[in-house]
Amino acid sequence: MKKPLSEKIIESLIKICGLSSIILILGIFIFIFKEAFPFMKGAFNFKEFFFSPDWYPASVVKVRYGTLALITGTLMVTTLSMLMAVPLGLACAFYISEFCHPNLREIYKIMIEFLAAIPSVVWGFIAIMMVNPLLIYLFNEPIGLNILNASIILALMSLPLIISVGEDALRAVPESYREAAEGMGATKWEIALKVLLPAAKKGLLAAALLGVGRALGETMAVLMATGHSIQIPKSVFEPGRTLTATIAAELGESPKGGEHYQALFTIGLVLFFFSFLINLISEWFIKPKKR
């Protein structure tokens, strides 16, 4: 049977939509690479770039591009925020999906989606105006703009994503699993821990990894919350700086095509690599393993 023309058009339109995402990703990669390439060919020094904390793009003495402090900052903030957000987010997802009253569930879901809609600059203000004095008061530190502050803000920002994806994963477990477990006399706790957790494992992991991606890429809020200070933090109470915040703060004033500009794009490439790695890991976990 021949397909009508309209169907063909729609089919090809959908195909183009699918292809466009691949083309866009490739395009972004090529663009970043193109801007970063002259630097990688020229002033780039692998040892200095990855193992030196000296980031002096505008030095009068000797220009140095060491990103160790920035990478450490990014890793510290991301790890710490995920230590807070993943357990809390998954626990929240379990509660909303399994334990709370169905009427309340809708209200919670709306509230959580609302939380996701808060712009990151507003989170930055919360970091400066609320978390900063709170940390000073609680820990008697000289300043509350530090790694801990940024981690708290990032945890709050990635929570909605983790909760809603996690909740979807739990909802996707067939009702028959729950009924079967109930029939065997399992309590709600046992169902959650021994039936749902293994059944929704992959979805929950995806939720956590999406949260990591969110935390890694966040810019504005961490710029305001970390204290934006180039140093390898010795504790969570010291200020630091992340890769993303460095790009945001410095790109505006670095002349286009200059060495500093290209170095910032190289940082972009590093970030691109990080998120690629996370996606790869999640893909590896989520795919069924062949035996």
């Binding site: 000296d54 003495v61 402090a69 900063n132 204290g227 180039i230």
Partner: protein
């Protein structure tokens, strides 16, 4: 429904007739943005047919935009560099003209609780300079800052490609040293003052125009006297960290831009300079 459409059409037409306004784009240094804004508003009162759109972004950004031809006036807190002039010539912008519009002094300030009155340039270099050993307030003549844990100095600075940062570095350390890493590098002078206001341990710097009563401005030792930044000392350059502020235009046939630039040098404009916290020029 039809009536509504006519109403909108009428509005659009009547508006477009009135708004035969020439827009001058003015961009650059964050240090100058307040002053440029105040000038633009005042000038609009005299010339309602002219609108000056002022935006910040930094000296480098403004000059780059002038070179690319996207703005008419670039504000800068430093003199234009030779390579930028060269770039402009390559871009067929041959007639870049420089105007000195005001004098700025960088103030060094601390929290109100800090008992210090003044610092010497060497002490500032010890706090801010790379290799400088001053990490605690008691290393500065035994100062103890109440409310500051461990008496640790928290350095507040600016992002390393801002004009203010570079001017501070060059005037304190000469062009031979860098500033120490590990300072809190904020994105604006106002943010720097706000942070110092709320942090007893901290020290910061910014243009004089941003100072307020919530932070304690320090005097700088020059020989015997300790000199505070104010109109008098900055104008005579007796205060060690003072500099000229510039505006750059590309000399074209556009008369209204030249008129505006000449007006900024007038007495009326320089009165606004004082109000904005900068030092006016001597009227020639």
């Amino acid at each position: 429904m039809n009536k509504f459409v006519y109403l909108i059409l009428f509005c659009l037409l009547s508006c477009s007739k009135k708004q035969q306004i020439l827009i001058i784009q003015n961009k650059g240094s964050d240090t100058l943005v307040n002053l440029a804004q105040a000038w633009a508003e005042e000038y609009k009162k005299i010339h309602p047919d002219l609108a000056i759109a002022v935006s910040g972004g930094g000296s480098g950004t403004g000059i780059a935009a002038l070179i690319n031809g996207t703005v008419d006036i670039a504000n800068s807190s430093r003199a234009i560099k030779e390579e930028e002039l060269e770039e402009a010539r390559q871009n067929k912008q041959d007639n870049i003209k420089e105007y000195i519009v005001a004098i700025d002094a960088l103030a060094v300030f601390v929290h109100l609780k800090n008992p210090l009155q003044g610092l010497t340039k060497d002490e500032i270099a010890c706090i801010y300079g790379e290799g400088g050993e001053c990490e605690f307030w008691h290393q500065i003549r035994g100062t103890v800052v109440p409310g500051c844990k461990d008496n640790k100095i928290i350095r507040v600075s600016r992002q390393s490609n801002s004009g203010t940062y570079q001017y501070f570095r060059d005037s304190i350390l000469g062009k031979k040293r860098d500033l120490k890493l590990g300072s809190m590098d904020l994105n604006g002078s106002k943010e720097a003052i706000d942070l110092v206001e709320h942090t007893p341990c901290s020290i910061g710097y910014s243009g004089m125009g941003y100072l307020n009563k919530n932070v304690k401005t320090l005097c700088l030792n020059q020989d015997e006297d300790c000199i505070f930044p104010n109109l008098e000392t900055a104008k005579t350059k007796k205060y060690p960290i003072s500099r000229n502020l510039y505006m750059y235009t590309n000399q074209t046939q556009n008369k209204s831009i030249n008129d505006y630039m000449n007006w900024t040098q007038s007495k009326a404009a320089q009165m606004i300079t004082i109000k904005a916290g900068y030092v006016p020029l001597d009227n020639k």
